[in-house]
Symmetry: C2
């Protein structure tokens, strides 16, 4: 009898990455810097000091290729890392494709997504600088869960502004966050000036990541003992996520394969970056023909339809200006179930690499993503998060293309999280009640 094909490629704990990989060191052109909204001059570290601990501000602008991961952070990573790389044998068979499909599964983490990779690091650096209290926002709830968990590990008080639509659609994500001891506030709220301003102009606002960011930033900026944590977009967040791709490189080598295409869903850009950047290093050096594909929702298509320009990271306009693909900071994304992809902008680093032609982007409507998700669940045994279903849709389409072309294609995607808190969305899909929302530009600014 022939040896069965290996499904799961597991690394020993000793193969946990020792450093974060900083793609800034390998860029052919430097990243445009963040600007002060009033002066339009590049901001210095002091402008970020009210929000972030100094170590993270340094990482934000660092040009070092590798930044050592503190042992306390690695110890916490060992709760769930290295995460598995899985060959999708069941899905391949169902698609009858010559393609080989692999996925890196980040749903094994305490929060059920890739988010703890940066939450743990951020909590550690804050704790190390004497901070007692963290504040953040959350869309789908995955980031809030991650920071609540990280806060509980490092004994930090944590407050989470949760986008109201998710707060209502996902009450169990709220419970999850509370189980780890954090406080949850639906956003927009009346606790901040930002929230009150939004509610005045739109009392029924379902919220957005941009609004929730405004609220969290305001709380941090007005409390000395409190710092702000962001779950995506910024360089240091993307940096922490590179543990994903570094592990995947070793695991693909175990499998004896090289990816022809690396796929990730992209809202703010962190899980895509996490899997892509370590592989992109070879491409930036001119040594690789691997393609990189960021997948976004058709209703919130910042890369494929947004402008590349300076814009605010939040809705109210309280952050520095970031050069990125944006639908405009006043854009209110439709209430699709992939709450983690409802963001008007895209990480400056991802936007920059897209402009330089190193990565591709594609947008899908939600029904076709749920269809892919269910095919994946029934063949691979994991119900994916609606966000991750975008990556699955693209992976399946790549595999079907390979079948048409009778081509051996090696596909690697990041399964950034499970969907066990998203069953209401699956209910709606199975009942035929999910609406595909087209993108509608909304260029007017919010009255502030």
């Amino acid at each position: 009898m022939s040896q069965p094909q290996q499904r799961r490629f597991m690394l020993p704990e000793s193969d946990l990455p020792t450093h974060f990989y900083n793609i800034s060191a390998d860029l052919p052109e430097p990243l445009p810097p963040p600007l002060h909204p009033a002066t339009k001059e590049p901001i210095g570290p002091e402008a970020l000091a009210p929000l972030f601990p100094m170590e993270l501000i340094k990482q934000e602008v660092s040009q070092e290729r590798f930044i050592e991961i503190p042992e306390e952070v690695r110890e916490a990573y060992r709760i769930y890392r290295p995460s598995p790389l899985i060959r999708a044998l069941g899905l391949e068979r169902a698609l009858d494709t010559p393609a080989r499909i692999y996925y890196k599964y980040e749903g094994v983490s305490p929060a059920g997504s890739h988010k703890p990779n940066t939450a743990i690091a951020q909590a550690f650096y804050n704790k190390a600088e004497g901070i007692n209290r963290l504040v953040t926002e959350t869309g789908a709830g995955q980031w809030g869960s991650a920071l609540a968990f990280a806060g509980s590990l490092f004994d930090l008080e944590t407050k989470v502004f949760m986008v109201r639509i998710s707060y209502e659609q996902k009450p169990y994500r709220r419970s999850f966050i509370q189980t780890f001891g954090a406080t949850v506030v639906p956003s927009p709220s009346t606790e901040t000036n930002a929230g009150r301003t939004i509610l005045e102009s739109d009392p029924d606002s379902t919220g957005s990541l941009g609004i929730a960011i405004s609220e969290a930033v305001e709380v941090a900026a007005t409390h000395d003992d409190t710092k702000y944590c962001l779950g995506s977009v910024l360089n240091h967040v993307l940096l922490h996520q590179t543990v994903i791709g570094q592990e995947a490189i070793k695991q693909m080598a175990m499998a004896g394969d090289q990816p022809d295409v690396v796929i990730g869903c992209a809202g703010g850009g962190s899980n895509f970056s996490g899997i892509a950047f370590p592989f992109l290093r070879e491409k930036l050096a001119g040594n690789s023909r691997t393609r990189f594909l960021a997948v976004e929702p058709a209703s919130c298509p910042s890369l494929t339809q947004g402008e590349y320009r300076y814009d605010f990271g939040d809705t109210i306009g309280s952050t520095p200006l970031l050069k990125m693909h944006t639908l405009g900071n006043g854009f209110r994304p439709a209430p699709i179930h992939a709450g983690g992809l409802r963001y008007h902008g895209m990480a400056p680093m991802v936007s920059h690499l897209y402009e330089l032609g190193f990565i591709e982007a594609r947008a899908y409507a939600q029904n076709t993503c749920f269809e892919a998700a269910i095919q994946f669940a029934r063949t691979e045994g994991i119900i994916p998060a609606p966000e991750a279903s975008h990556a699955i849709r693209a992976a399946i389409d790549e595999a079907l293309e390979a079948r048409e072309a009778a081509q051996e294609r090696v596909i690697l995607f990041n399964l950034s999280g499970h969907g066990y808190f998203d069953m209401a969305a699956y209910d709606a899909y199975l009942a035929g009640q999910l609406v595909d929302v087209a993108y509608e530009p909304q260029r007017e600014a919010v009255a502030v």
Copy 2:
């Protein structure tokens, strides 16, 4: 710097067990046989043939020590097995105990519990004998999820009678089962004579595993193309679960430790058996002083307060009589959140080993279990299923005892599932709304 302590002990796929371990072969006294309710004579295979495929009936009475696992079953196991063995370093630190605590984590499976270990095997044997349709019951929803997944793998139609209290408390477990293509019916239902009989005497019945079993058995018995699947209690179910303990033996050896005590929660008895039986083999041979501890809910304490006698496996009295610890087949368990532990009886094999003095039992009320669960979540990063929280409570108490006694104790427990579909229960606990229900004997039979 010293090497960090290893947390997770992972086996390669090549170490997946090749055989189920059948404890029947090693019993000092044979298990009392099931009896026909009318004749009170031991039943033969033909009596079970309407309900189960022949291969499972053979396994039910087999005396072979090892039964080979079909390659198709092992291939499906590789979707999630071997499962991790984890050293609870975070929990140990929080408890400040000299004990070393390990847990085998079965929540990594598609259904989030140990249940697919037998669901996959049962679906395979049914498929192999030409069956098209499976019917079963589910309490907390974990077994129904497992069989729905297994049915989807082997292309079988699956129908699940779900205990009404769980159907209402856990709508997302229902969605989960439906996502895998199975049909879900709240029990008691009007679809069966059994269900209608219960509803006549108790129109507001919240249901129980015993009632749901009656309904599922009736559907199988009255349809030629349909067989019944049970998620616990029977010998062949316990047999399939022994992959857990076989892996754990190898993993404990990797860790360089031997358990002083092996702990599992016990409803029907299958996850406890799964981890315990392979370790018990040595004890039955007189070569081990390891203790074995089955943990049950105080409100449904079949081992610690039930009688050891012949009783029906279901509420309506349609199954063969099984010699087991029972609270009486008319006992209606209180609606605690650990739905998977709400069963009036206990597996005959577990009952037998308890009577022979090879295992101990202990009962806990639910609030103290949730307290343990939250301590575990905040230190280990996994929110446990309410069922599994009983094992955690016992493990923590063993570790605290070890601290009092300044004793190095090695504790191994089965973390049989995650609690991501049980957040309503955590909500209730955190709000101080959970009631500890004492056991109230109810000896009168149900009017049939």
